[in-house]
């Protein structure tokens, strides 16, 4: 199940299953809502740090932290805000660390272990944070908090360092947490944050709907909602395509009709996708359905980027065997040729066919 599907499957239950969680208390009274919302408009950044300072001066550290967290997400990248947030989080977590350690060690459960993991991650002890987050997962694999702690640590790293592995980590662990407790307030907020970092305001807007109802004055909800309204709408709901767009900075040209026709292998279908993930050729019998093309394009982009990062060199080819058929791919460095047949016995001949296409392209 994909991350958006996992969330959709039960988002309507958000109220009953923790739509308001420990971080969703309104910052202060109703009268501040408009002023708070104004802070997240594009001109509001200059007022945000002074406001945070005022809250700190009034010893409202929790509120200051919530506001600054929201500001950092809203105005990303914002080095000054990030720096101030790191300082504030460190102060807070240093203060609470003994209490969190006590809770995790004495009344050990998934929630206390994941809170400690969060604190350690903010204090820069990544190894300790990982240990406690894993312990939370092992203690109760059906509780979302452990997965959320890992997802949040990855999200922090993804935002700060644009790290692709961390990005994939966010998606994997948030998917799991969303599956375990659809509608969980923090899952939804982290998911909306991730979607906005991937420039997907349409999807983020849908995720935010239950939060807007449950916690309309929450600074993070206000920040995310403002950002979602500001970004141009995405034209895909495929999270892996969105990730590839973030990673490569380019998107395939879906409007281009394939310029060339490939020869038809017997009983099979062929497609050629170039390195920009755009369909450039097909055989006559191949499906040109948008979803098929998008899926093949995502496979091409994903394998091109993943294999070197896994340590097995540039992508050469892949074979996928299912009960209902085979799907093959072969790269010649400039394009990926895909072949499909419903007969498993065609695997060798189809691979040879793809190979010969690649060779022709090279000699051309």
């Amino acid at each position: 199940m994909g991350i958006i599907d996992a969330w959709k499957s039960k988002s309507r239950n958000s109220k009953s299953s923790g739509g308001t969680s420990r971080r969703e208390k309104p910052l202060s009274g109703n009268r501040h809502k408009d002023r708070l919302a104004a802070l997240f408009h594009s001109e509001g950044r200059k007022d945000l740090l002074p406001w945070v300072g005022q809250l700190e001066a009034r010893s409202e550290s929790e509120a200051a932290l919530r506001l600054l967290r929201a500001g950092v997400v809203r105005f990303h990248p914002w080095p000054q805000g990030e720096e101030q947030l790191a300082t504030l989080e460190k102060q807070q977590f240093r203060w609470h660390l003994p209490e969190l350690q006590d809770a995790a060690e004495n009344q050990f459960d998934a929630l206390s272990a994941s809170r400690l993991a969060d604190a350690l991650d903010c204090l820069g002890d990544r190894a300790g944070a990982q240990l406690w987050a894993r312990a939370a997962i092992e203690e109760d694999p059906c509780h979302p908090e452990g997965y959320l702690a890992v997802a949040r640590a990855h999200l922090r790293k993804f935002r700060e360092k644009s790290d692709a592995v961390a990005g994939l980590g966010v998606l994997r662990y948030l998917t799991k947490a969303c599956q375990l407790r659809p509608g969980h307030g923090e899952c939804l907020r982290d998911l909306a944050t991730m979607l906005l970092l991937l420039k997907a305001p349409k999807a983020a807007g849908k995720v935010l709907q239950p939060l807007i109802k449950a916690a309309p004055r929450d600074p993070m909800v206000l920040a995310l909602t403002t950002l979602a309204k500001e970004l141009p709408a995405e034209n895909t709901s495929n999270i892996q395509e969105l990730f590839l767009r973030w990673e490569t900075g380019s998107e395939p040209n879906r409007a281009l009709s394939p310029a060339r026709v490939l020869p038809s292998p017997s009983g099979g279908q062929l497609w050629e996708i170039d390195n920009n993930r755009t369909l450039v050729a097909t055989c006559d019998s191949a499906s040109r359905d948008d979803k098929t093309i998008e899926n093949l394009s995502v496979v091409s982009g994903t394998l091109m980027s993943s294999l070197p990062q896994m340590g097995i060199g540039d992508f050469v080819r892949f074979t996928s065997r299912s009960r209902g058929g085979i799907l093959l791919g072969q790269s010649d460095g400039e394009s990926t040729y895909f072949g499909h047949s419903q007969r498993g016995s065609h695997e060798e001949s189809l691979h040879r066919f793809l190979n010969s296409l690649g060779d022709k392209e090279v000699s051309r």
Partner: protein, 118 residues
């Protein structure tokens, strides 16, 4: 499970193996120090997910076996009872008998996971 993975790593050409859940959580790992389990799991589950979607869209159903070949090695993903066995090999193992041994050990692993879930 660890024993089976260690046995798998003794197959000529195999560089390491691990078992992960369908959503990419590492269950058991026997990878050498040159591979990071989290990195392999992240990319392997991402690749498995997108190839799976494409195969389903083509009408094949969810793949039970995926072989990804790179210039310096291969990654084999075998479906084992709600989990995935990930095997990293030298380039070209698909062409020799190593693949048969890997499949046979995957069947053993499937048996263990069937017993554990029943």
């Amino acid at each position: 499970m660890k024993q089976i993975l260690q046995g798998l790593n003794e197959v000529p050409g195999v560089l390491g193996s691990m078992v992960m859940t369908e959503d990419g959580m590492v269950v058991c790992s026997a990878l050498s120090s040159s591979f990071d389990g989290e990195v392999v799991a992240a990319f392997a589950s991402n690749a498995r997910l997108c190839i799976g979607k494409a195969a389903v869209q083509c009408g094949d159903g969810i793949p039970h076996e995926i072989v990804l070949e790179g210039e310096e090695g291969s990654l084999i993903l075998l479906d084992v009872e709600d989990a995935t066995l990930v095997v990293i090999t030298h380039a070209g193992l698909e062409l020799n008998t190593g693949m048969l041994e890997i499949r046979s050990l995957a069947r053993k692993l499937r048996g263990i996971l069937e017993i554990q879930t029943s």
